[in-house]
Amino acid sequence: MSMRLPKQAGEWISRDKTVRFTFEGQEYSGYEGDTITSALWAAGVKVLGRSFKYHRARGVLSFANHDVNVMVTDGNDTNIRGDVVALGNGMQLDAVNTDGGVLKDKNKYIDSLSPLLPVGFYYKAFHKPARLFPFWEKIIRKAAGLGVVNFNYPRITKRKLNKHCDLLVIGAGPSGLSAALAAASEGLEVVLVDENQSLGGSLTYDYAGSESSRKILEELQAKVAETANIHVYTGAYAAGYYADHMVPVVTAKGITRVRAKAVIVATGVFEQPPVFHNNDLPGVMLGSAAQRLINRYAVKPFNKGVVVTANAHGYRVALDLLNAGAKVAALVDMRAEGQRDDLVGELVRKGVKIYPASCVYEAVATSDKLGVQGAVIFPFDEATGQANPGKSVNIDCDGIAMSAGWAPAAALLYQAGTGMGYSNDIQQFVPNCLPAGVFAAGRVNGVYCLQQRANDGMRAAAEVLRYLGKRPPEVTVDKHQGPSPSHPYPFVEHPKGKNFVDFDEDIQIKDFVNAAKEGFDNIELMKRFTTVGMGPSQGKHSNMNAIRILAKIRNLPVEKIGTTTARPFFHPTPFGHLGGRSFHSHRLTSIHAWHESAGAFFVDVGAWSRPAYYQQAGKSKQQLVQEEAQAVRQTAGIIDSGTLGKIEVCGPDAALFLERFYTGKFADQKVGTTRYALLLDEAGVVVDDGIASRLADELFYLTISTSNAAAVYREMQRWLQIWQLNVGLVNVTGAYGLINVAGPAARDIVGKLVSIDLSDAAFPMGAACETEVLGVPVRLVRVGFVAHLAYEIHMPSAHGLNFWLALMEAGAGYGIRPFGTDAQRLLRLELGHHLAGYDTDGLTNPYEIGAESALAMDKPFFIGQRSLKIIGKKKVAKLLVPFVLPQEYSGEMPQDCNLVIDGAAIKGRVTSVAYSPAAKRIIGLAYVDPARNQPGMVFDIRTDNGSIVKATVVETPFFNAD
């Protein structure tokens, strides 16, 4: 039976655009503008989902983005919220969390088992005997969760934007709209956000029956539309409040991080369900939900209904129902005094019977338990909260609208650090101490009268202007008059329970009572034990009622109970939105394209991509790495080392600076030479090592290992500030390219390009100079890290490829071969050099790697020196030594990080191990017992498969260079 109404004045649907869809296999149609729920309800479908725990039938509850029991899947996406997600043509929808469909859910039997499953039952069952728990756990895990995830769902990248404004107004109801307009008229740039598709907040449903309120709404909407400095985001929710007024605003398209100078929270209130037996049946809904159905979507909530209320709002709901052509069989007012204004007369004139001082004791379920067939009304003693069974009235109806009170939508205020106090005038938490730059207006601020809500918006805007240094006129807001909009205790006990407080988690009144009996009688423990508020709606309709129940149990005023902490997000927010377009930055040298075309296999080193080795068809990595290394030993190899950190230290105090920064001496270093530079931290731990080339009296050029470059430069900057030396630091890591040509033919190859004398006498190991190559100024350094004869050429990085090509050409006749980081690691190992960060870890001190010779302990100061004086008094715990395996060794190849074992004790580990084609045996570095560090001594390495290999300590280099 169609529940669609004739055109309603402010309706959000487009009747000329029909939308066809299916739900649980049945075909339906709705209109563009419908949500899934409104279209189904219009089509007369009332069972929209099943509850999480007991699998009870559920329909509309809030119709405000917390109908968590109405989640559907379209086969592609899951956990789609029917109450707010727009209907799309061709959607094929099914309810989640059912076994066999929403009507015939095979799990509905769990409802009748509910007495077996009291609060916290799972803590008390299934664990004995322990061996059976995995069996029970499988069953429990099968029952867990809501929707089924589609593993083929595509990756979606949403944009994440940044927006700056003077004022962010969250909520475009009467107070938010008034606030935005007032602030904008004073010239502020305003962002106005509302989660609905249309501005107006409660004006789009609550006062919708009234001509005058519609006029107010239209005027406000028109004014906002013509105000250029109000930027409106509809269909957008403020997901959370973060430090310094940053509020991510979420729409279907993505997230905008709004950074405001001030924020007005005008988020309104959530209607709270009164609690009675079967208050969850499809057809029982909040009054505001009924109004939304009628006034936004032109859908009749039910044909003949009962309104249960404890405030004026319920009377307006009844009027809206009557206007929509529904019969109102009774209006049940829980208050002893009932309502005392014109609304009463109006309803009575329209034939509605009013039951003051009464309650709905239970909703009577239809025989199939899928809907309402009546309501049982009992007199209600407001003072004691007791229903009196004496004079009950049974009323036939197919729906119940509930309006007993509200809870502030104050999550953002809490997150901002707002102090909230409980107002007995309105039985609601209201802000009483707002953080700087954060303001509240409207019902979330405890202001209920429509005119005063607009005033309150203007008042908040005036406070914002004052906060921003302007002088606006004072705006006053009248204090709340008349009866409270919320009932202090709208709960009706029932021997059969099923009076739901939390619809997400199926939590009933007795669950709270029992939790308290077991000692979980403060709000946080109660939340954890009962799981109230932990479902997807995050307590929007349950937290306040939980607090009221606990206050009653403990016989304390509500404010003594306090609230649980409100965490982001306001509404659940998709991974894809939050992740957005992730920035995966990376650095490439100017030779990258060449490496790629030469078959390089790249590895990430910090932000850089570096060739690990160059692939060739039919050859293994192992083979290629050996070949690349052999080329260096036999003729020449070439490697792109442009990723190394490069720092210039210049100025009169340059040498002094380095003497303090590094462990060695630099003051007496001759121009044109290089020195080893070892950096420690203040605890004496090895941080990095590199090479310092003195290019002029006042110019040192440092190379730093790739992954430490940025950190070392930062530390140089920091210490320079502390020491106040006359030094300039220039980080030229990206500005210079670096190519290393190594091997016996290196001199001949490099000599083809450079004009200076490269002979050992003129340019020995450790020499460095500035010269010109190919007409370009370069820095040339003779190094010995991977081979005894090797040259580093440092050139402006845009010339890197040219130099690479020129060197390849120059070396062609010698069989020059590019090599990657894998071969480099092997080559330096063959020479016995350790790699900082590879052969050391975050706690290694220089004594453990045998670096005493690099420590100028006689200097007045260097970073880490004082700690070394302490460490130096202690016995070294482990020592890095070079080792070899017997040439004939044919067992399992030891790997890096295999342990050095002595009986039952771990003595150390292998840090580098490889087969050396030059030494023709397996060589490596390992930490060993310091007592076993002498050449010729033997220690045990345990390989992956557990076998013990005898390794022998040797001296380096591992092979005879001649």
């Binding site: 850089w608 006042e698 402006p796």
Partner: protein, 227 residues
């Protein structure tokens, strides 16, 4: 020794990222540069909507140190008085004051101011001035949607009301350090972005990825500078 006599042409730092687009390349200041991607009519329209242009080939010269400002002034350069601001150092050459005591000069399109300064700089002769070797990837971002693009890649408020006409900001763009300012080029307000050249391909890719979504794309150098 066999030094080639011809001057070697450098590749732009973003060449790697551009190669798939197969732009028409030319040479400026000794560097290869993409002159045109899809033809003048497409790129002229794109320039108005959202265009990304590689101008890494512009000549640059940079110094830092306590005496840097004085040294530049002595060389006849106009230096900005305020920190983090830019100005014209000389006709056709802009100068960015990066923080307090570092200066970046850039010849717009062509010119030899930077080359002359570089030639005239001898480290040993000037105290308190240190040459800063640079290898920037540099971009022009033009068009009505440029701010929209930047609002995704940069967290700063870059509206005209917040970003002064002569302001220089050192910030993060697409998660990496970059220098950014706005400038008027042939009557059009454009944004200029510099980052370390080794991040150039990444930056180009990110700018293009977002630009394409917004209907924009690559614009060749010729579209902004008719030779």
């Amino acid at each position: 020794m066999t030094t080639p006599q011809t001057v070697m042409i450098r590749k732009t730092p973003v060449a790697y990222a551009q190669q798939a687009l197969k732009p028409k390349m030319g040479e400026l200041n000794g560097m290869e540069v993409a002159l045109e991607f899809e033809g003048a009519s497409v790129e002229n329209a794109r320039k108005q909507l959202l265009g990304v242009t590689d101008v890494s080939c512009f000549q640059r010269f940079s110094v830092k140190g306590p005496q840097a400002a004085a040294w530049l002034a002595a060389k006849g350069m106009n230096t900005p008085a305020a920190i983090n601001s830019w100005d014209d150092a000389a006709p056709g050459t802009m100068i960015l004051r990066l923080g307090g005591s570092e200066f970046l000069l850039e010849d717009q399109h062509s010119g030899d101011t930077c080359a002359l300064l570089a030639k005239g700089f001898k480290q040993a002769e000037v105290a308190g001035v240190y040459k800063v070797q640079r290898a920037d990837a540099a971009f022009i971002l033009s068009g009505s949607e440029a701010l929209d693009l930047l609002s995704e890649l940069c967290m700063l408020d870059l509206r005209d009301s917040a970003l002064g006409a002569n302001a220089v900001v050192m910030t993060q763009v697409a998660g990496i350090s970059a220098t950014l300012l706005r400038q008027t080029l042939n009557g059009q307000q454009v944004y200029r972005i510099w980052c370390d050249g080794t991040y150039g391909p990444y930056m180009w890719d990110m700018l293009m990825e977002v630009a394409k979504e917004l209907g924009g794309g690559a614009v060749g150098l010729s579209c902004h500078f008719k030779k």
